[in-house]
């Protein structure tokens, strides 16, 4: 492998990892604080991607507007699922899993009904559609933009979680829910807002990721699996852990496919198994007190 190819694969891994981070961060926060395993998170990513495609590719509107529309649609859907269904299943993990998995099928069929069965090619903003040279290769500006977006969001979420009152409440709620409520914090309201934010991030990730992954009906399940692996490896409820997990997965995915294509799919799960054996809470996870 030449140095140019190494650099390109590293950038491929980091850009893919950035998309996974955008997706998994919401899922991690929701599960960490609310104890809800929202398996429809991948489907929200898919809905966001389709909405973004409609705004930016079909109607040719501003890409920023597409990102916002994708995020808001996913956020609204997430809120609907939480308020209408999940709040009645507090602490019933099996029922939550079944319900949210059912929503994967519902949302996938809704997308099939609205947008049809054809996959949509990748789309991006005009100013991101070029490329820059790395040796005799070119590298798409859009993927570099995704890396920057992921980094900015990671810093933003870390600051929010560790340097603000809201973040302190969220961390306290993750550590000891009853004590936090006992101190007069309306954790239910915080949870609802966080669920919306987490779902928004899923839709946001869908539009951002569509710049090189395109849009298709398989995202509901495929991308969810990767997000779950990221959380297992990085740990629940921790921005740093989610970032670490997503970068590990992204880079292993990229180099695994390039160097060991026959083993690429297995490598990710192999790493997950090792982490589960050595550190069940994830590399940087927070364990919630029972």
């Amino acid at each position: 492998m030449t140095l140019n190819v190494f650099v390109i694969n590293l950038l491929n891994g980091i850009s893919f990892g950035s998309v996974l981070f955008l997706l998994a961060s919401g899922l991690s926060i929701i599960f960490g604080l609310m104890g809800i395993l929202n398996l429809s998170h991948g489907a929200l990513y898919m809905v966001g991607a389709y909405v973004g495609w409609t705004v930016a590719a079909k109607y040719g509107l501003n890409f920023g507007l597409a990102v916002l529309a994708g995020g808001l649609t996913a956020g609204a859907l997430g809120l609907f699922i939480e308020q209408g269904f999940l709040r009645r299943l507090y602490k019933q993990l099996n029922e939550q899993v079944l319900l949210t998995f059912g929503f994967v099928y519902i949302l996938t069929n809704l997308c099939l009904w609205i947008w049809g069965p054809l996959a949509r090619p990748a789309f991006t903003a005009d100013f991101l559609s070029g490329s820059f040279p790395i040796g005799h290769w070119s590298y798409p500006i859009a993927r570099a933009g995704i890396i920057i977006t992921g980094l900015v969001l990671a810093v933003g979420l870390w600051w929010l979680q560790n340097r603000t009152r809201v973040g302190a409440i969220v961390r306290a709620g993750m550590d000891d829910k009853e004590m936090t409520m006992g101190l007069g914090v309306n954790l239910k309201k915080v949870s609802v807002v966080l669920f919306f934010v987490g779902s928004f991030l899923a839709g946001f990730a869908g539009v951002i990721g569509a710049q090189f992954l395109g849009v298709n009906l398989e995202f509901g399940i495929n991308i969810l699996l990767l997000a779950l692996v990221v959380i297992v490896i990085g740990g629940m409820g921790s921005v740093e852990g989610t970032l670490l997990g997503s970068m590990v997965i992204g880079i292993i995915d990229a180099f695994g496919k390039a160097l060991f294509p026959g083993l690429a799919m297995f490598l990710i799960y192999f790493v997950m198994i090792i982490v589960l054996l050595v550190r069940p809470a994830g590399l940087l996870g927070r364990m919630q007190k029972e």
């Binding site: 190819v5 390109i8 099939l112 590298y139 090189f212 995915d253 180099f255 390039a258």
Partner: protein, 394 residues
């Protein structure tokens, strides 16, 4: 005559007439008993990764059936639709349901070759004819109960191997989906290219549904030409990322008709001039039957037909022509031999069948062009009656 007596006569007369009419309607006539419906089962990928094939296929089959008013040789046709969710395991469950519960006479589909292979042994045991609308692996010929349009998957790319060598390419790298169709499509091209004297320096196999193809593209070795096949959603990702990475090798797309006009437009200018093998159908084929088909599909669905439409429509037309020839007899031992004797003029061109049941049909070399401001595959060379060289059934 007293009024109440007249009224009684009238009422009595009406009742007698009603009784006679009821008797006449209830007595079966020979013609009425013979119009027993032909039951056709259709298994398609209506959900899952194959939905982009299954959903338009269903529309084209329905169009063909509507054209004949769901009737052939004086018998009505009843269709039972099933979705295999792009899963071979589900396909076999649906096949069993169609045969044992719905008692269908024959089955059209599924589209994906792994699902076809899963139901083939069962259909053979049940003596039910199967029909593959967009190719199948040659292994199905051993069951002697299949009709396959437009031919074996391996045969789709054979002329492309000829074309590549004829263009002066001497080394090739390939990328294919890691399942039976991928191996057949790609190896059809690779084997012919090698037989002509070329060298295949690398072959990569990637599971379909892969999110990011960039690592595979960066691992590609430099060759004279790059031949590629996977399912349509992944093909879009590959092509988009290929151009984003600034790769310059000429691309040959196997089963180019896999990508329709709107999908070509999504990739855009970099694709202009790209060559591919039309395995079965494109809307620009210049046959009278195709002009008619394009017009009717546009009128019904407001869109132009793609490969899946052309193949599914041709398949359904073949079934109907076979049933016409057997005067409505759908049984395997009667219908299949009748179909094997057919010579049809279809939207996809002239079609006949080898004794194995695999169609002898045309393949077309095509190039991506901008025609009337739309991206389209423009055929420029026709290969006639293409047959898999391994098909030795006589």
């Amino acid at each position: 005559m007293r009024r109440d007596g007249s009224l009684g006569l009238i009422i009595g007369g009406v009742m007698v007439m009603l009784l006679v009419a009821a008797l006449l309607v209830s007595i079966p006539t020979p013609g009425f008993a013979a119009a027993k419906p032909i039951k056709m089962g259709v298994i398609l990928e209506l959900t899952g990764p194959g939905a982009s094939y299954g959903v338009p296929a269903k529309q084209s089959i329905e169009l063909r059936l509507e054209q004949c008013h769901y009737e052939i040789a004086g018998r009505p046709i009843k269709v039972v639709w099933e979705d295999d969710q792009t899963s071979p395991a589900t396909a076999i469950l649906k096949a069993k349901k169609l045969v044992e519960l719905d008692k269908v006479d024959f089955i059209l589909g599924p589209i994906f070759s792994d699902a076809q292979d899963s139901i083939a042994p069962y259909l053979a045991r049940q003596h039910i004819m199967g029909m593959a609308p967009i190719g199948a692996s040659l292994e199905l010929e051993k069951y002697a109960n299949w009709i396959v349009f437009p031919g074996s998957l391996y045969s789709f790319g054979i002329p492309l191997g000829d074309y590549a060598y004829g263009k002066g390419y001497r080394t090739m790298t390939t990328l294919g989906a890691d399942y039976i169709a991928g191996y057949r499509f790609v190896n059809g091209v690779a084997d012919r290219f090698k037989a002509k004297g070329g060298s295949v320096i690398q072959q990569q196999w990637v599971p379909y549904g892969t999110s990011d193809y960039a690592p595979y593209l960066t691992a590609m070795k430099k060759a004279d030409v790059f031949a590629v096949w996977t399912i349509a959603p992944d093909m879009l990702t590959i092509l988009k990322q290929y151009y984003q990475l600034g790769l310059k090798m000429p691309i040959l797309i196997i089963e180019a008709d896999n990508l329709n006009s709107s999908q070509l437009a999504g990739i855009g200018k970099p694709l202009l001039g790209t060559k591919g093998m039309i395995a079965a159908y494109t809307q620009r084929l210049d046959y009278p039957a195709n002009h008619e088909f394009v017009k009717e599909l546009k009128a019904k669905y407001g869109r132009s037909p793609d490969m899946i439409d052309g193949c599914a429509y041709t398949c359904m037309s073949t079934y109907l022509a076979g049933l016409e020839a057997t005067k409505g007899d759908p049984h395997l031992g009667v219908l299949r031999p009748a179909i094997l004797k057919l010579k049809l003029n279809t939207p996809a061109g002239p079609v006949s069948f080898a004794p194995s049941g695999f169609a002898l049909s045309n393949r077309y070399m095509a190039e991506v062009k901008l025609i009337d401001e739309k991206y389209a595959w423009d055929p420029f060379k026709t290969y006639t009656k293409v047959r898999d060289p391994r098909d030795k059934v006589e």
